[in-house]
């Protein structure tokens, strides 16, 4: 789960990490008021959206007066932000952050993420902050400091001090940076984060250590024990179909193509997209119905697929394990009765209860005129691509 920058800042501040004064507002007029309340001469107005590329898109603006703050916020609220991460249609801005700008002496990067290979969370730090850490990692790997946490004991104090020293900090600034790291690590563990990133952490010209921008994501699997975090979720940032799928326990991601896919298992779902593309088609979505799918869930899956009006065909690929083929066949028929399949449907079934499923489909043949069966995955992909071009 993702949260907005302003929410991440609040979590950092609550954990005792210093952030510049800031206010989050939902109107241009409030942005002007926020500027006055912050009461420093130079401030920054930042659109609160999940997508990156805000700066280039003009959705991060330095302002010197309440009027400028209002103008900047007004622009952000009235225009959709378009960046490489949003797609051409862009996204609407609902909130902006008005924050005190600071006089920066140097920018650093501090992050905590899982290191899969070491099976533990690791600190990533760099004295080259303020830019994409992936770029630094790629171009100058020696500028990246890694400090794995102890899997059971967390980040030891000395390890935090070691990172601060390697970043070049000395004196009381070193211990301030070590404290930022220790508090970030505690935050990561406390809330089951999947990333805690402060970029940049800055040293100001008057010697202060401040977190300027922050990104915090959470482990979806652990949200059950963090109702306070769950309450911070912003549904406006999600595709309505994706939200609807999530409610039905379906793992659905909308994509740009026109061939809808319904598959069980994430790996097989990705492989199905791959094989569609290999045969010249373009998948309209990723959809893993999961092992424990119930009849109603499977019908809802078809409803969601068909409500994407770009869809020109449906490929069903089920290799039954936990999921049962017969249940999917029944859902297909139910969906046909309810919403009707105007587009071609290619079905490939294998695994648990496959014979029962084939019998069910054979019996309902007349109800599903656009239905074709496939013998294997290549056959299925070929047929759906052929039927939709």
């Amino acid at each position: 789960m993702k949260i907005h920058e302003y929410q991440a800042r609040e979590l950092l501040a609550k954990a005792g990490i210093a952030v510049p004064a800031a206010r989050v507002v939902e109107s241009a007029a409030d942005a002007a008021a926020a500027f006055n309340a912050n009461a420093v001469p130079l401030q920054v107005v930042k659109a609160q959206v999940f997508a990156g590329g805000r700066g280039k898109a003009g959705f991060v603006k330095l302002v010197k007066s309440a009027a400028e703050a209002q103008t900047a916020a007004d622009f952000m609220f009235k225009n959709r932000m378009v960046s490489v991460q949003t797609g051409p249609e862009g996204i609407a801005v609902k909130k902006v952050l008005v924050a005190a700008a600071v006089d920066i002496a140097h920018e650093y990067y501090l992050g905590l993420v899982l290191d899969r290979a070491k099976a533990t969370v690791s600190v990533i730090a760099s004295a080259e902050g303020g830019v994409e850490i992936e770029t630094v990692a790629h171009q100058r790997p020696q500028a990246i400091i890694r400090e794995p946490l102890h899997p059971a004991l967390g980040l030891p104090g000395f390890a935090a001090r070691r990172v601060a020293a390697r970043l070049g900090f000395t004196g009381s600034q070193a211990s301030q940076v070590a404290q930022v790291l220790l508090k970030s690590a505690a935050l990561y563990a406390q809330y089951d984060c999947s990333i805690v990133e402060i970029n940049p952490l800055v040293l100001t010209k008057d010697g202060k250590i401040l977190a300027i921008d922050a990104k915090i994501n959470f482990d979806d699997s652990a949200l059950f024990r963090h109702p306070d975090i769950l309450a911070m979720a912003d549904p406006a940032e999600h595709d309505p179909l994706e939200l609807r799928a999530a409610k039905a326990n379906l793992n659905y991601i909308k994509l740009e193509g026109d061939i809808a896919c319904l598959v069980n298992g994430a790996g097989l779902a990705m492989a199905t997209m791959d094989v569609v593309q290999l045969h010249g088609g373009k998948p309209a979505n990723f959809l893993d119905v999961g092992g424990g799918v119930k009849p109603e869930g499977a019908v809802e899956a078809f409803r969601i697929l068909l409500s994407d009006n770009k869809v020109r065909g449906v490929l069903v690929n089920i290799f039954g394990g936990i999921a049962r083929c017969d249940l999917i066949a029944q859902a297909l028929i139910a969906a046909g009765r309810e919403v009707g399949f105007k587009v071609p449907v290619v079905v490939r079934l294998e695994g648990t209860n496959v014979q029962a499923a084939r019998d069910i489909l054979a019996e309902a043949r007349a109800e599903l005129p656009t239905l074709q069966s496939a013998t294997d995955l290549n056959d299925a992909a070929k047929k759906i691509v052929a039927a939709t071009t």
């Binding site: 699997s221 994430a266 990705m270 997209m273 998948p283 695994g351």
Partner: protein, 299 residues
Amino acid sequence: MSILVHKNTRVICQGITGGGGGAFHTKGCLDYGTKMVGGTSPGKGGTKDANGLPIFDTVEQARKATGADATMIFVPPPFAADAICEAAAEGIRLIVAITEGIPVLDMVRAKKFLAEFGDQVTLVGPNCPGVITPGECKIGIMPGYIHTPPEPGKRRVGIISRSGTLTYEAVWQTTQLGWSQSTCVGIGGDPVKGLDFVEVLALFQADADTDAIIMIGEIGGTAEETAAAYIKKNVTKPVAGFIAGRTAPPGKRMGHAGAIISGGEGTAESKIQAMRAAGITVADSPADIGHALNIAWRG
């Protein structure tokens, strides 16, 4: 022979009464011929399940009463990591954790806990279909009938996969092509897990009754790259492979946490390249995994 499980493996199911699939799949394993000997369900000790298997409150009691040496875990996510630790602490040799959705930090701690038992215990999963040695022992949720037990004249393939249903695809293709399977291991898609490719590859390489290997990976992480390097250096048997997610858009989370591409690490291309450089025959289409194995077999 085979790896990890065989006809004498004695298996309990932790979470045998739960709605997480424990009851359903205990029956499935029994039907396949697995020596299921009991299960646990805290608070229900002393009763029996629908198959007449004894239920215990703790693994300590179950192990004492049944002599189980393996466990299949269906315990719900909030308690599953603890169940894994329990099995290890009680001397269970093989832990197969099916449960999906265990918090990552729970697994970080559980893996540390397990590390203290060294070679005494092996974890497969979590979030995996399980392990099967066809004709002998099935621990997990895979449909049994798609597998082919080894018999004279049938080449025997060992299968390792991060993805459940994609494993079935590979199994089914090899069966269709007239191969058999020595053992199939679904290592699971979670970022922190038990056995990874390398450990299973080592087992298959050492197993006299495995003739060739199929390895199925997906985008995210660098386990496939590491495995490819290992294969280049240590594996002499023919290996075919497939990587799912070639066409997945970057930054989107596809199903399990395994499938996030971040930066230059863990893309399908980097994996496929590394695997081909290690001499692995990588199928372009998931429909051609069996075919790729035949090519690898011919060398």
